[in-house]
């Protein structure tokens, strides 16, 4: 019975020699096809997008520990800080700073703060995306998965793999997870035409860019407000102000730990607008919640309302900043960080 691969012997010298040639030609044809796909997709408006997974998170988490204390600026939070801060611009505005994006979409970030607080090797500055409705215990599976991955499974080989992957991903559309043949095919069948590029782009440093002009349909703000309100109602039943403050007390202990070893925390309230801001105010009024925290915390605090001219934002979904707004917000934030002395006052 001949075996599957018959690797033990090459049947004939000539065919055997040709396999290498065929393999090389296969590579050439494959690269040509991929290049053709890449060009076609770019002409249709697609942009390269990096994978958003725990491997990349772990790589950034490791970066958070390298370098001296004053060099590292770590962004912790959820989608708002990932879309709302232009990390590239921030690096240019703060030369010498290592900006690390550790925010994870849609989940309360308090476990990341806890992890950094318990890590004796971390001495940097944390910009903490403080959101009143995240200030209560809630499932954060993705945060936990990434923490587990970083602490238990991020081996040297995986570290090297992500570094190598970063060289390619985020540079080519065909390597982007958003260009997934299955979902591309599904969308193609559903739309009976060439799919449109997604309005969110993930960058290799884990920051994100929103281009709402690419939205296929306008954002359903009324529906979003309904979902948002029901979540806030549920939270109001589960957590009163006292319990809410109690939960924050735990975070305050971690902030204390960080301060004790020279690290710093800045609580940052990212912008919301329209109905969402009204709901935020209805359920967590700034005067009773944010102001109370700001008066007692060891951390520095920055509320978007207090930024010069930054109180009003026209947000496409009333919750996130688009690419253009992110640039403006980043500049205002850096100014404020300088004013507070969190980053060095340098002429720019």
């Amino acid at each position: 019975m001949p075996l599957f691969t018959s690797s033990s012997e090459c049947t004939s010298a000539t065919t055997g020699e040709r396999w290498l040639l065929h393999w090389v030609l296969g590579i050439v044809v494959a690269l040509s096809l991929l290049a053709f796909c890449e060009i076609a997709l770019r002409t249709k408006g697609f942009m390269p997008s990096a994978p958003d997974d725990c491997q990349l998170w772990a790589l950034e988490r490791r970066r958070a520990n390298s370098g001296s204390a004053r060099e590292t600026l770590v962004l912790v939070g959820a989608s708002r800080i990932r879309l709302g801060i232009d990390t590239d611009l921030m690096r240019r505005l703060l030369p010498g700073k290592r900006v690390v994006q550790l925010a994870i979409l849609g989940q309360s970030p308090y476990r990341v703060l806890q992890d950094l607080a318990n890590d004796k090797d971390f001495h940097g500055t944390i910009i903490y995306d403080f959101m009143e409705r995240y200030e209560h215990p809630q499932p954060a599976d993705q945060v936990q998965s990434c923490l587990d991955y970083y602490h238990r499974r991020f081996t040297i080989a995986r570290y090297a793999h992500v570094i190598l992957r970063n060289i390619f991903s985020g540079r080519f559309v065909v390597l982007s997870p958003q260009f997934d043949p299955r979902s591309f095919g599904k969308e193609f069948l559903a739309r009976r035409g060439f799919p449109k590029p997604h309005y969110i782009t993930y960058l290799a440093d884990r920051s994100m860019i929103a281009r709402p002009e690419l939205l296929v349909e306008p954002y359903d703000l009324a529906k979003q407000a309904l979902i948002f309100e029901s979540a806030l109602q549920r939270m109001a039943v589960e957590t009163n102000l006292e319990e809410w403050l109690g939960f924050h007390k735990q975070e305050e202990n971690w902030i204390q730990l960080l301060h004790n070893r020279g690290a710093e925390v800045v609580l940052l309230r990212m912008p919301s607008s329209g109905r969402l801001w009204m709901l935020d105010e209805a359920y967590h009024p700034k005067a009773s919640y944010w102001d109370q925290i700001a008066a007692t915390t060891l951390a520095r605090t920055i509320h978007f309302k207090s930024l010069p001219g930054g109180g009003v934002w026209e947000q496409y979904d009333e919750s996130h900043l688009d690419a253009r707004q992110a640039g403006l917000f980043t500049m205002l934030l850096v100014q404020e960080l300088r004013r507070l002395g969190v980053v060095d006052e340098r002429p720019h």
Partner: protein, 474 residues
């Protein structure tokens, strides 16, 4: 470091370049050994010490075995090697399982026992290299193999990186003679080796991870969802495809990588879903393990030498231990035991119906192929399901015993799994009696290039998830 990672691509390119650049054969072997330890250390550096310990222990024991003529001393040494190797495997792989079961037994007889939280990390590949080193010392004990002169040759045999972490399980008699003579760069071997790696990566990243795995994982792991009978069947069939493509893909990469370095390592799969009987299945599935179990366990237990009943017992026991080799869970034990039962029943029937089965064998070939595949697929449920209870629930649901519910899986997922599995089975059935190499050589050169290019493009477009090879956990 896995074959489907960019790290491996760089690592392998450097290894190939340096290996063929070095002139001295001894230096080359030393370099391969060092590279293999680096490959292993990339996963968890401290466990290289364990690999060294295992290598050194079996080398010393085998040397001592050769040095003595006294049967009692040789027996003592073989017991020592079994104790060392199985002791290590037992500690890392089965401690928690044994303690948990002891707790249940204690509770059953009214005793309260709280097992300690051991939190033992399983060293990757330990099951594979333990069986490899065990086969070496047993072969030396039986007088079938002479230990190599150099310790470094033996160390390379144990640590050779293409097959170190997930096989194929190589015997000393297959590998050690290849270290005697220098290997020159052979573009025929390198070319075919690279094609094998490409086919292996295609099987792993495209077919196993991209097509089958999402469906199989959904159905097996989402216990909170009421899956319909059709969903359950899709999930089970998807796992059948996934496990083959995952493991066979790994084996092909290992064989291909070894071939690029000029080494031949044994085949591990030969169209197993084209098996016409269970014994045929085990001649085609994970061949290096099934032959290992046959040669070192089944035969040691007495094989078919002590009558019919003991033969059946030996078959069941061998397969049960084979199941347990895969992992410390009751699911693996049941899976192995069922395969043992199938083999025993098949043997019984073939003895009883010898003339009849020969007469109708051709006529019944297709129903038999389908039947064996179906039973193997149903049996995989015990292998994959997170618990025995989940396995039984799934089998009940597949057989229509549960509530009637609306299918949850998207029709596209069903279609993709169905079409891919159909193609996979057709390919295996058509390759039942010819090798893939012969099949590819029948194609026109342009078609061959097109097949290779299509596989490479698919690998690039679907290689997002980076799932670990299933057999890494064993």
């Amino acid at each position: 470091m896995t074959f489907d990672s960019l790290t491996f691509v760089i690592f392998f390119a450097i290894v190939l370049a340096v290996y063929y650049w070095l002139r001295s054969w001894e230096l080359r072997k030393l370099f391969l050994t060092t590279a293999s330890y680096l490959f292993y250390a990339a996963w968890n550096p401290p466990f290289v010490l364990l690999l060294w310990f295992s290598t050194l222990a079996d080398w010393t024991i085998a040397k001592a075995m050769v040095a003595t003529e006294r049967p009692s001393r040789r027996k003592l040494l073989i017991i020592a090697t079994l104790a060392v190797n199985l002791g290590l495997l037992g500690f890392f792989k089965y401690s928690t399982f044994l303690l948990q079961n002891f707790k249940h037994i204690a509770a059953y007889v009214g005793l309260i026992y709280q097992e300690p939280a051991l939190d033992i990390v399983l060293p990757v590949g330990i099951s594979f290299y333990t069986f490899q080193t065990l086969s070496y010392t047993i072969d030396v004990y039986r007088g079938e193999l002479k230990p190599p002169r150099r310790f470094t040759d033996y160390a390379l045999f144990v640590a050779f990186f293409p097959q170190l972490v997930a096989g194929p399980i190589v015997r000393g008699s297959q590998f050690l003679p290849q270290l005697l003579f220098a290997k020159s760069a052979d573009i025929r071997k390198i070319g075919w080796g690279l094609v094998l790696i490409t086919i292996g990566l295609f099987q792993k990243t495209v077919v196993a991870d991209y097509v089958f795995s999402p469906v199989a994982d959904s159905v097996f792991d989402n216990t909170g969802i009421m899956w319909s009978a059709s969903d359950t069947w899709t999930g089970m069939l998807a796992f059948s495809g996934q496990i083959f493509c995952d493991f066979s893909g790994y084996s092909l990469c290992a064989i291909g990588a070894a071939l690029c370095l000029g080494f031949h390592i044994p085949e591990n799969f030969n169209s197993p879903y084209a098996a016409a009987s269970f014994s045929d299945f085990w001649r085609r599935w994970h061949i290096s393990l099934s032959t290992w179990l046959r040669d070192y366990l089944y035969i040691s237990l007495g094989g078919n030498r002590d009558g019919r009943v003991k033969t059946y017992r030996n078959l069941i026991l061998t397969m049960l231990i084979g199941g347990l080799w895969h992992g410390a869970a009751w699911g693996f034990i049941v899976w192995g035991m069922l395969h043992g039962l199938y083999l025993a029943m098949e043997r019984y029937l073939s003895e009883r119906l010898a003339g009849w089965s020969t007469a109708v064998s051709t006529l019944w070939l297709w129903p038999r192929l389908a039947g064996v595949f179906l039973v193997v697929t149903l049996t995989w449920v015990f292998f994959r399901a997170p618990t025995l209870g989940r396995a039984i629930d799934m089998l009940s649901s597949a057989l229509g015993a549960g509530e009637t519910v609306t299918p949850q899986l998207a029709s596209m997922s069903n279609a993709l799994v169905g079409v891919t599995l159909g193609l996979l089975l057709s390919l295996q059935w058509s390759l039942r009696n010819i090798s893939i190499k012969d099949a590819l050589e029948r194609l026109a050169p342009a078609a061959r290039v097109a097949v290779i290019a299509a596989m490479l493009v698919s690998i690039v477009l679907t290689s997002g998830d980076g799932r670990a090879f299933i057999y890494f956990q064993f």
